[in-house]
């Protein structure tokens, strides 16, 4: 992997692609960013997670949010009620992350996402 500026440009381009998926699916993108930083750029696991959180601090979803908002596809009240839990839960979760290497947990989570994904596909295109 190249060092310095080329490396940052490569990361930027990767983040652009992840950003398209992020806007397309209304998610933060960290779920792809973390593995990509580890696999493509040889980040250590904790470092990848910490770096991914940097991208979640500024309102990077703002433009995507506006696209949905203009199409009346936002429930603001529910979004606001979710926030306190996410903030305090985030503190709790990173405390856990520092004290354990959650490899097994991550596998359970991956399996959970897999089942959820299959469920979504089936319920969307059944008929």
């Amino acid at each position: 992997m190249p060092e310095g500026a080329p490396r940052l440009v490569a990361i930027f381009l990767m983040a652009c692609l992840v950003g398209v998926l992020s806007g397309l699916f209304g998610v933060g993108g960290g779920v792809l960013l973390v593995p990509l930083l580890v696999l493509l750029f040889r980040f250590d696991q904790h470092r990848a997670q910490g770096t991914s959180l940097v991208a979640l601090v500024p309102p990077t979803g703002l433009l995507a949010f506006l696209a949905y908002y203009r199409a009346h596809e936002v429930n603001l009240a529910v979004g606001l009620m979710i926030m306190p839990g996410v903030f305090f839960g985030g503190l709790l979760g990173s405390k856990f992350a520092q004290s354990l290497t959650p490899v097994r947990m991550r596998r359970v989570f991956a399996a959970f996402l897999f089942v959820l994904g299959i469920w979504q596909i089936v319920s969307a295109w059944r008929r």
């Binding site: 983040a15 699916f25 904790h46 470092r47 979760g93 991956a110 399996a111 996402l113 994904g117 979504q120």
Partner: protein
């Protein structure tokens, strides 16, 4: 889906906002509110634990627990990305020198640009197809997460 065709300015959302806040008062009920707050807490733990945004869990939860339409679920999920909710979690990583700030900023800029086009793309898709694609995205993400756990063992590669 009539509102896909009409490109209305943001101000026309006033009517929708009224219904949104009516949900607070009577439509949703106390149980609904409690479910939403607990959901936020559970998602937050995942955010800190795995360094992810949480939307990947939030969107299906909105669809299946709260009965939202796929587009509405995704748009609502983006609301939690507006304030710096990940800040608390980030600080803990920062203290342990587990943050590459330059790379993080490059990622943030990429997200900002890419996110807009992704949003436009999503709005133009039928909700049903979007739901299916989201499912595919989840399966793909699951595979990535699984692979990540294996990457650790093989990190002593040739170009190190």
């Amino acid at each position: 889906m009539p509102d896909l065709q009409t490109e209305l300015p943001g101000r026309r959302n006033c009517g929708k906002m009224a219904t949104v806040f009516a949900f607070f008062v009577d439509g949703g009920g106390l149980l609904h509110t409690i479910v939403i707050i607990l959901l936020g807490l559970a998602v937050g733990v995942l955010v800190g634990l795995m360094g992810i945004g949480g939307g990947i869990v939030l969107v299906p939860a909105f669809v299946y627990l709260l009965g939202m339409d796929q587009h509405l679920a995704q748009g609502t999920s983006l609301v939690i990305l507006l304030p710096p909710l990940a800040l608390g979690a980030l600080m803990l990583y920062w203290k342990n020198y587990q943050v590459d700030l330059q790379a993080g900023i490059a990622c943030a800029l990429g997200f900002l640009a890419g996110g807009y086009f992704g949003g436009l793309l999503a709005i133009s898709l039928p909700s049903r197809d979007l739901k299916g694609f989201f499912g595919l995205f989840l399966v793909f993400s699951a595979a990535m997460l699984w692979r990540k756990t294996e990457a650790r063992g093989s990190s002593g590669n040739a170009n190190a």
